[in-house]
Symmetry: C2
Subunit: 381 residues, 2 copies
């Protein structure tokens, strides 16, 4: 049970039978009172039906969010939209609110019709199971995640609690990644949205597992208000703490990944350019395969940087793996043995200085293993 727990929200997780076996696959958060909220969603043109529904509810207070794993309800056409409506109707009826006060999220294989009756028939059990503990909820939203992902922080008297799931399809502009953040601070939706946008941009938008942007990415943040007003800066900081924490947990638990790789870029013209360069390296299948083999293949880092920003001056570029400088201002610097040792660690830091600018960013990725391919070669259709 999370030690820091915001008041005004209850959580549950049950098995409704979408996943094989008896794994929990239906999560529900119910807020005691209509609460202000903020959200960021995938920009994929093939955004799933639940994303379209939830996004359209931005700006109005809500009471609940219902989440299933085991099926993304994406690319499912009009049947997908109808399924969403049946889900929100069922929840609204059982907790006593308007359907428009219920948000929806889904994660799992794309393009498979959602067996929505399994959800609607399990809503009573989910409502029955509502609890202050997030644990059952955190398990119910998992797909190929191997561990539940929870992060907490305090902002004055207010608590911030975040629950997420990641695994694969993690890329800029958010992963197949769902996150649910609850605070008991009292704050208007507009300010909350600003706080969330900044936090997402420097956390979930700075991780890449396979450069695949999902159809279902959604981050929700709810403010129940029970703890009263809160310093905005303190809440912003707490939100960044929990989103960065969750993002790191997601990469650490990435499908088939065996190590966490931090790509740190400094000296770019601005932070945005630095982040793009970092994502370039984090998206390189060749570098990530080398990382799996423990090979300090800095040439692939440089190649990825050079492909991301064609105006780089290589004589301004230096790269270090761990503490070992492997390339210094356009020249190889042969600290390879030390770099090879650094590659053996479960956490590898690659530092790239790309010029004299003040822009910097850190992008997280994992290594690319044969297991990733095997996991994603398995039939889902």
């Amino acid at each position: 049970v999370a030690v820091i727990s915001p008041n005004g929200a209850l959580w549950s997780g049950v098995a409704c039978g979408i996943k094989r076996g008896t794994d929990p696959d239906l999560g529900l958060i119910v807020l005691d009172d209509p609460s202000s909220w903020a959200g960021t969603f995938t920009r994929n043109a093939a955004a799933a039906a639940p994303v379209l529904w939830s996004k359209s509810k931005l700006g109005r207070p809500v009471r609940a969010v219902v989440v299933n794993s085991g099926n993304a309800n994406a690319c499912t056409g009009t049947r997908g939209s109808e399924a969403v409506e049946r889900e929100v109707d069922a929840v609204a009826q059982h907790i006593g609110c308007a359907p428009s006060e219920v948000l929806v999220a889904s994660t799992g294989p794309i393009g498979v019709p959602l067996p929505v009756e399994r959800i609607t028939s399990s809503v009573p059990a989910a409502v029955e199971g509502l609890d202050v503990s997030v644990d059952a909820f955190a398990r119910a939203i998992m797909t190929t995640d191997t561990v539940p992902k929870i992060a907490t922080a305090r902002a004055g008297r207010s608590a911030v609690l975040a629950v997420g799931k990641g695994a694969a399809m993690l890329a800029p502009n958010m992963a197949t990644m769902l996150s649910f953040i609850v605070t008991d601070a009292s704050i208007d939706a507009e300010t909350l949205q600003k706080i969330l946008d900044v936090a997402v941009d420097t956390s979930f938008n700075r991780i890449s597992v396979d450069a695949c942007e999902s159809t279902n990415d959604s981050v929700f943040m709810f403010a129940t208000g029970t703890a009263g007003e809160c310093d905005v800066d303190a809440l912003a900081t707490a939100t960044e703490v929990v989103t960065k924490d969750l993002a790191t947990q997601m990469v650490r638990d990435a499908e088939g990944g065996s190590k966490l790789i931090r790509i740190v870029v400094d000296g770019a013209p601005d932070d945005r350019t630095a982040a793009e360069l970092g994502r370039g390296v984090a998206s390189s299948a060749l570098w990530r395969a080398a990382a799996y083999g423990g090979d300090p293949n800095w040439g692939r880092v440089l190649s990825a940087l050079g492909a991301s920003d064609r105006s780089l001056e290589m004589t301004d570029v230096s790269v270090a793996i761990g503490d070992a400088t492997v390339y210094a201002r356009g020249e190889p610097a042969a600290e390879l043995e030390s770099a090879r040792n650094a590659m053996r660690d479960p956490e590898v830091v690659v530092r790239c200085v790309v010029g004299p600018g003040g822009g910097s960013a850190e992008v997280l990725t994992s290594d690319l293993s044969p297991r990733y391919v095997e996991l994603n070669a398995e039939g889902t259709t």
Copy 2:
């Protein structure tokens, strides 16, 4: 031996000891007379020393190109540039021309100092071995290619012969990919460059194996002129034939790949947009892993399309795998069994109609296998 062989050029391939064992790793093409030529090169900011040298010689007639495999001479700093100068000096001296009339290309691991004395000391043997047959040359430029790659076409009385190598790091704006095209047509460098640019754009720039753009990509086209003037359109067509043929051979022989996947995009606003959408699908690690498993996971095709073009209207989009329509104007179309059969073929065609436009493109890729990861996890440093 290629049946169609342009006059005015001789080829050779010898072992100079850069690769382990006795595999040939040094190739040489010598043109009887100074010949007009055209070239397209990687746009990677970390472009290798041989690329910078060869590119700077555009516009002036040349006599030879020297190529090594087993080492990219990329990210090698000032030593790399010095190595190039020693290479061209050695070739110029042995064939009797100016160093500026000798071009250079390299392919192999990045960031490893080039043992250039192995090349310079083998230049006499390479010159000695010059022959009308391209076979030894085609083998000498191979890296992880499993077969040599040769394509030929006729343009009137003129012959067009192309030799290439591919394997991995194949992505838009050219692959770790070297190609050498010789025609005996008589044509000025400017017109030849136009012909080559168009041919490369619809062949090598339409393949993606791992979305990694190399530091060394180079395509050279030489016109020896011995066959006299040639119809420009006929030469353009013949050039497109050989570049498309080589590009297909490269994808078919992609590292770890077991099948060729053709992504055909129709109905885009223009060809460029169609090509970008095709590259989006061809670059999706998730789709390519599914293809390895024979899974007709069309959801990952849609997700990749939607991430590539955020303005797509899904109700305008249809997708077919082989002859099986799996998604029709925003709705799933469940011809999955037929699609599953199509995925078993060594060549899979994915057709995406994305709107009412007239733009179309075909992009080639291979599947992503655990073997690709293993090949690229092996130490090269």
